[in-house]
């Protein structure tokens, strides 16, 4: 891989690339990992309202050291702050917002995404010791759009964009767009449609790292 002509995006750069695409006024839920980094990358002056499963709308930046409020955590159990205009509510109301399609966007991490938009992000096998799902399935079916932020391939080089998921599904046919360290790819009725790539990346090199056919966008 030393002769590659491109520089993969870092985790922070993936998050920034996602943030760039979020319009003002959207209600957004961020999963743990790379998605959490999106909050701090929203362009200055653009109001985006972040939701946490545990009953919060209007999450602000991480607290200043020493100004930590122990009563205020997000779904990843990190301490957070609340913006003016934020609100608290209980868990049933919080998941009404999710299941009831009030959340405009959820950004999630994933193990795999299939060309049909199937999402696998909660369990590594059907017989996981003590499997844990949290709110992943609710978010996958409920958010009006699901975007995935993940590495393009696994640590040992296998594609995460696949024909069919090998891991247990979180939800069938729910992912709309995928942001990786190498590219941004839409999931359409035709399959994986390339939106853009990092500088220096070629279509052929990207296809070689993708487990299902990559399509060029159809002219509008």
């Amino acid at each position: 891989m030393t002769d590659r002509t491109w520089t993969p995006r870092t985790r922070t750069e993936i998050a920034a690339r996602v943030a760039e695409d979020i319009p003002e006024g959207w209600y957004v839920n961020l999963g743990i990992g790379v998605p959490t980094l999106v909050a701090d990358r929203v362009p200055e002056g653009r109001e985006v309202i972040f939701h946490a499963e545990n009953g919060i709308l209007g999450i602000g930046p991480a607290p200043e050291p020493g100004a930590l409020d122990r009563w205020l955590i997000n779904a990843g159990k990190q301490h957070v702050t609340l913006l003016p205009g934020g609100a608290y509510f209980h868990h049933a109301d919080s998941f009404s917002m999710i299941r009831g399609r009030h959340i405009d966007l959820c950004v999630l991490g994933a193990y795999e995404v299939s060309r049909d938009g199937d999402l696998a992000n909660w369990a590594r096998s059907e017989t996981d010791t003590a499997p844990a799902v949290g709110g992943a399935m609710d978010l996958a079916i409920g958010a009006r759009q699901v975007w995935v932020a993940m590495e393009h391939v696994t640590r040992d080089g296998r594609p995460r964009l696949v024909e069919r998921c090998g891991y247990p599904l979180t939800s069938p046919a729910c992912v709309r767009r995928i942001y990786t360290d190498l590219a941004v790819i839409d999931v359409t009725s035709r399959g994986f449609e390339l939106r853009d790539m990092v500088e220096g990346m070629t279509f052929e090199a990207l296809q070689a790292r993708t487990g299902a056919p990559l399509l060029l966008p159809q002219p509008a």
Binding site: E47, L57, G58, L83, G85, G100, H102
Partner: protein
């Protein structure tokens, strides 16, 4: 900057579709978005389906909408209007359709719509004529009726306070169906008595978070009259 306030009733109602399903908050004279409802009279909207607990109150709001023949169907628990027979007259003349729903089922069907629950079982109405034609299933040895979510194209809501993100509070018995309607419609339009700066409403006290609200018009309306 997010700003859900619009300057006029007309702007608030822009784009309400013909033959829309409207969810109306309010119970008795209290918590009725009468200025928004009467704003519909300035449009050419007809064939409306209205979801509301009563058939209006007094000679204002829904009662006027009914009188002017804009409503094709009423989904309602108690189709009466204090001091008016306009609904009964239309109903007897066959000029309006009625879907009678128990009050709690009406609230729960809208709550289900807002919560992404397409259908639920309820004991209410089992063994009565209101269960006719509905799927019935036993749970714990008691019959339960399958009821479906009741979505609105538009909700018309009256709040006490609102900020530019759409966070709302209500006043006393003015809460009633308003928060339930707000969450159950594609387009939620609010008339508010008071406009607050962002952050002025305590986040513990907000009843309807702004996520459920699309447009707000600030029209201090005064106390409910009856």
């Amino acid at each position: 900057m997010i700003n859900k306030f619009v300057p006029t009733i007309a702007a608030a109602l822009e784009g309400v579709p013909q033959a829309a399903t409207l969810l109306l908050g309010g119970f008795g004279a209290v918590g009725q978005a009468n200025l928004l409802i009467e704003g519909l009279l300035e449009t050419d909207l007809r064939d409306l389906t209205v979801v509301a607990n009563n058939a209006g109150y007094g000679g204002v709001g829904l009662a006027r909408l009914l009188k002017e023949g804009r409503v094709r169907k009423l989904i309602c628990s108690y189709p009466r209007i204090a001091g008016s027979t306009v609904f009964e007259d239309l109903y007897r003349a066959g000029r309006i359709e009625l879907e009678l729903t128990p009050q709690g089922t009406l609230a729960e069907r809208m709550r289900a719509a807002g919560a992404g629950i397409p259908a639920f079982y309820t004991p209410t109405g089992a063994g009565t004529q209101l269960a006719r034609g509905k799927e019935v299933c036993d749970f714990g040895g008691r019959p339960h009726v399958l009821e479906t979510a009741l979505h609105g194209d538009v909700a018309l809501v009256e709040s006490w306070e609102a900020d530019r993100w759409g966070n709302l509070t209500y006043r006393k018995a003015g809460r009633n169906f308003n928060p339930v309607c707000a969450a159950a419609a594609r387009l939620t339009i609010v008339q508010t008595q008071h406009r607050r700066e962002l952050g002025e409403i305590d986040p513990e006290v907000i009843v309807t978070p702004g996520i459920f609200v699309d447009r707000i018009v600030h029209v201090p309306y005064g106390d409910p009259q009856d």
